[in-house]
């Protein structure tokens, strides 16, 4: 196990595309979070109100406990940057023939999958930890009177974000292994996530069946929080059922990955 971790770290340590995409991911998350803060402040200074009722400066976007829900929701949109790297990682192993050479040198196909799953978990964990510390810092600087109870409340969205990222990246791994070509795999991932599944979802009228679609169920882990500031009701918790659904998907994806690699001539 330790060996497989080391192998994957050796592969990414000096990989330019890994570092470019990792920095991009973090930079864009920071940019989005901080720009939201500035935007609200400027609205407030101009004396604008939302629905003629609410002063934008008074919205506790960045205060405990709301911050956890808000930043994880926003950061979840940027999961695709890490997914791009996962796809590049697996498709380049195929095009460089290094997947085949790894097997010839003594990895089993299962070992190879485990090492790639480790990459997925590493990316998801790093992003989650980054978001967690960012949340703590911004939360403590924005909350006038932070109390432990508020800091902890809603912090369940942090592990939910980890789960969401992990399952999406496993999905990207499956697409990459299935399609083999980097460009085509990236295209299919975006096409499915942004167009194909939304169209399917549009045709389904029963809400709970809609929630069984893979991307929809992943996105369901963290619901849109902002409408609550317009005094509408929001699902402000992570539903255990949603976690079960995405976990089943993760297991299915991994099983497909295993079957694909086992049957394939390299």
């Amino acid at each position: 196990m330790n060996r497989l971790v080391k192998i994957e770290i050796l592969k990414i340590r000096t990989n330019a595309s890994f570092w470019v995409l990792a920095v991009l991911h973090i930079a864009i998350i920071l940019l989005v979070i901080l720009s939201g803060k500035m935007f609200l402040r400027s609205l407030s200074i101009q004396g604008e109100t939302i629905s003629n009722l609410i002063d934008p400066g008074a919205i506790p976007l960045y205060q405990f406990p709301d911050i956890w829900h808000n930043i994880t929701y926003v950061a979840a949109f940027l999961k695709f940057i890490l997914a791009i790297y996962v796809i590049i990682s697996i498709t380049s192993e195929i095009s460089y023939d290094t997947l085949r050479q790894n097997i010839m040198n003594g990895l089993s196909r299962k070992d190879f999958i485990v090492s790639k799953l480790f990459l997925v978990v590493l990316l998801a964990l790093a992003s989650t930890l980054f978001l967690f510390f960012t949340g703590l810092i911004i939360g403590f600087t924005s909350t006038p009177d932070p109390r432990l109870h508020d800091v902890i409340k809603y912090s369940g969205f942090i592990p939910a974000y980890f789960l969401l990222l992990t399952v999406y990246l496993v999905f990207a791994l499956l697409i990459g292994l299935l399609i083999r070509k980097t460009g085509l795999a990236l295209g299919l991932m975006f096409l499915y996530t942004l167009i194909i599944e939304p169209i399917i979802a549009f045709r389904i009228h029963t809400e709970w069946i809609k929630g069984l679609l893979p991307i929809k169920s992943i996105n369901n882990l963290i619901h849109m929080p902002f409408v609550k500031y317009a005094l509408r009701e929001v699902k402000d918790y992570v539903a255990p059922l949603d976690m079960v659904i995405v976990s089943v998907y993760a297991a299915l994806f991994i099983w497909f990955i295993y079957l694909l690699l086992k049957k394939r001539d390299l």
């Binding site: 060996r3 080391k6 192998i7 050796l10 592969k11 340590r13 000096t14 990989n15 330019a16 460089y96 023939d97 290094t98 085949r100 050479q101 790894n102 097997i103 010839m104 040198n105 003594g106 990895l107 089993s108 070992d111 049957k263 001539d265 390299l266």
Partner: protein, 303 residues
Amino acid sequence: MSLDNINHVVTTSNLTKHYGRIRAVDELTFAIPAGSVFGLLGPNGSGKTTTLGMLLDVINPTSGSYSWFGNFSKKENRQKIGSILESPAFYPYLSAVDNLQIIAEIKGIGYDNISEVLKITGLYERRHSTYRTFSLGMKQRLALASALLCDPLVMILDEPTNGLDPRGIAEIRELIRTIAQQGKTIILASHLLDEVQKVCTHFAVLNRGKLMYSGLVNEVSGAEQRVELSADNTGELILLLEKFPGKRKLESAGEKIVITLDGSIPVSDLSRFVYQHGIVVTHLVSLKRSLESQFLEILNEQV
């Protein structure tokens, strides 16, 4: 499996691979003796790489089986085999050292041998350059370094001299000999017959996925031999040679006559025979029978 496994590094039994209707490898049964330098010959597309791919578990056989070192467990066996299949495969953005470190981790060994194998293959000076900056010859040598890295029991080399200059080819040939002397088994797939004849002890010929021949390289040159002669009176010489006891075939090529003999007869017998019958030869050359002529013969027999 019989006791034979002790003396063979790998045995196959009816190993078969179909791609649709094409039989890339067809019911291959053979064994590779431990300590041999085994040449796998065949024209392009005869199934050499497919066969090696199956032995290395990267291609799933349609049917049949194989066994390394008398045991079937695959992953641990491959850790003890150094292999190159077709072209070298490395991470282009990593240095030579980083690439070898990954292989060392896969093989479950330390990094101690890395400098050593880079020196043997003449890449030590460029060890920190990324792989993508290497010339084809250097890539080929890094592949060889990676195959040597784990101090392997068996080395599988598929066209190891592809793309090398004459000096590189000679170096690799020398390296193969040195490695073979250490008692390691080498499996060499090639279509360069000259190469196989120079380094191999055993060879097998594949054509269209079928095993055509398998035997010792020495036997090829030992079964028959050809001698070229000429004399002042060619007609008389031909008449005389027709009566030589060990004769198999007689051909005349202009002034020169080529006689094919049993491999067991010393050429000196022929010389003495001719002389005792009062003919003085002006020219007598023992033609070494090449693997190439044997190879072409084996292939022609099938057509």
